[in-house]
Amino acid sequence: MDFISILSIFVLACFVGYYVVWSVTPALHTPLMAVTNAISSVIIVGALIAAAEANSPIAKYLGLFGVVLASINIFGGFAVTQRMLAMYKKKGK
């Protein structure tokens, strides 16, 4: 990908982010915080690269440490969001 493409994707993603976040109902702002926490752990991709390719042993162990940290967030974040969301119920249910 060339820089312009990446920039284009970024610019459009910012518009999408703006609209999609404003459309979140205020009642779900706490789950929003939890789930953004989880998805921002997509930097685990970087940690995986460091852990997998491992041209340097320190890089490898740093990478593995990063994987642990990020996966706490991923699993914990989605699980706690799930737990919260399961509690929201409509009248008469």
């Binding site: 982010g17 953004t36 921002s40 997509v42 685990i44 991709v45 970087g46 990063g66 919260m84």
Partner: protein, 486 residues
């Protein structure tokens, strides 16, 4: 016009196969759908599942396109993290959400620092080296910024966690000359990043610079957050969330990874918009929150407003309240931070059910900054199985106080303070508040007349003619009311 920086970027993600790039795009789209699901409780669980699918795609794609030699260690790391995460998520009390979010957040920050160091140690694997084996200049900037933002997020979130969980006093800690120290440190960090970028043996060398950036950033994260009061922590957490989003996007630029770019933009917007919503709902500028010092006199946990004049007020008992509530046609319940502290939501729901059985119309009114994080009250009421269509936003219900018989305030304070409408000198002036003074009767649960809300100001509602103070712990008081309702 020279566009060398654009040309330099042409290498980004060069080694990734086309199908993997497509997969990362799909993963990004799933993340968009995850947040989109949160537009209503009915679609929110499907949304969360989309988020998991997106993450799964990103994980598998990364693993498949890289060397699988260390797969067992990686699987073990994933498993350890996963177990810790799930256990925490299962065990945590709903009232502890604010500190949980802050805590999880610190981990993202630390992970970003770790990834930054990984990329610095092993730039080949990240595909960010030029012909001479040096790290590309753009990548060095991204790397430096990524480490710095990650470190600030880490230490800042740790402080936020400590303050929100009460392990550290919520009151602001104001160092003398802090503005000078902060600006100096920030300048030093930016200078080091610049130096690293132009350094000739830079690239994978110059370790002291990279380490110094990380250390200084850890320190400044600490320094920036300690002067901010406990109840302003949600704004801080959101702000750091936003920063970490932008950091993830920067990393996405480095790797040419659209999942990261999209996530970064989503998380960045989310944090920024939530901060904005909170500041607007408090009628305070973002700058004033970040400059700190608010809540200097009264911490989140209460504390005396000191030399306040004594004014007459009425005090009531649970029986009085139960009697009046039964008689009412329409009751609006306003929960606040105190309900969370007392964990009174279950008892409150029971009270609401009893009243509904007796034919009373019951609605819940939630202020955008009630409690200690956005949507805090909604989650707690949902936990207690209050249906979400009985719960209303400020602007949707505020006109109904004139037609309601009882406004039942439980552990809220600042969000009903009429000083916000009338007293220009009040620190909460201009903040939109509930018009409880229009209700025929007001019940106000708090522990003592001395305690104040987060803003630390007196509240005229206490002394109104139609107000009856119910002085006790919120949970105990509501439980007694429930008993009297039988």
């Amino acid at each position: 016009m020279s566009f060398s920086i654009l040309a330099a970027g042409a290498a980004h993600g060069g080694g990734t196969p086309a199908w993997a790039m497509l997969a990362y795009l799909v993963s990004g789209v799933f993340f968009i759908l995850a947040l989109r699901g949160l537009s209503s409780p009915a679609t929110s669980q499907a949304g969360n599942r989309n988020g998991m699918i997106g993450m799964g795609i990103a994980l598998i794609t990364t693993l498949v396109t890289h060397d699988l030699a260390n797969i067992f260690e990686i699987a073990a790391a994933l498993a350890i993290g996963g177990v810790i995460g799930v256990v925490i998520a299962r065990r945590i009390a709903m009232t502890a959400m604010p500190e949980l979010v802050a805590g999880f957040h610190s981990l993202v920050g630390l992970a970003a620092v770790v990834v930054g160091f990984g990329a610095w140690l092993d730039p080949q694997s990240f595909g960010i080296v030029d012909g001479a084996g040096q790290i590309l200049a753009v990548s060095r900037i991204e790397l430096g910024l990524g480490i710095a933002i990650g470190a600030i997020t880490f230490s800042g979130s740790v402080i936020a966690f400590l303050k929100l969980s009460g392990r550290m006093s919520g009151s602001p800690i104001m160092l003398p000359g802090r503005h000078v120290i902060n600006l100096g440190t920030l300048a030093a960090i930016l200078g080091l990043i610049a130096l690293y970028t132009i350094s000739p043996q830079g690239g994978a060398g110059e370790g002291w610079m990279v380490i110094a950036i990380a250390i200084l950033a850890f320190i400044i994260g600490f320094l920036l957050i300690i002067p901010i009061g406990g109840a302003d922590m949600p704004v801080v957490v959101s702000m750091l969330n936003s920063y970490s989003g932008w950091a993830a996007a920067a990393m996405g630029f480095t790797l040419g990874n659209s999942a990261m770019i999209i996530t970064g933009a989503l998380v960045g917007s989310s944090g920024a918009i939530l901060s904005y919503i909170m500041c607007r709902a408090m009628n305070r500028s973002f700058i004033s929150v970040i400059a700190g010092g608010f809540g200097a006199d009264a911490g989140a946990g209460g504390g005396g407003g000191g030399a306040r004049e004594q004014r007459p007020y009425k005090q009531g008992s649970a029986e009085d309240a139960a009697y009046m509530l039964e008689q009412a046609e329409k009751v609006i319940i306003i929960p606040g931070y105190g309900m969370a502290v007392a964990q009174a939501q279950h008892a409150l729901r029971e009270m609401g059910d009893k009243l509904k059985e007796k034919g009373v119309e019951v609605k819940y009114a939630i202020h955008p900054v009630a409690g200690r994080m956005p949507g805090h009250m909604n989650v707690l009421l949902a936990e207690a199985s209050v249906p979400y269509d009985e719960v209303f936003e400020l602007e949707d219900i505020n006109s109904e106080f004139a037609q309601c018989d009882v406004a039942f305030i439980i552990g809220a304070n600042d969000v009903v303070n009429p000083a916000a409408k009338t007293d220009k000198s009040s620190p909460i002036y201009g903040m939109p508040v509930f018009d409880v003074d229009k209700a025929k009767q007001v019940f106000f649960i708090k522990r003592s007349m001395g305690g104040v809300g987060y803003a630390g100001v007196d509240n005229d509602v206490f002394y109104m003619n139609q107000t009856v103070m119910l002085l006790a712990d919120a949970k105990k008081m509501v439980e007694e009311i429930v008993k009297s309702l039988d």
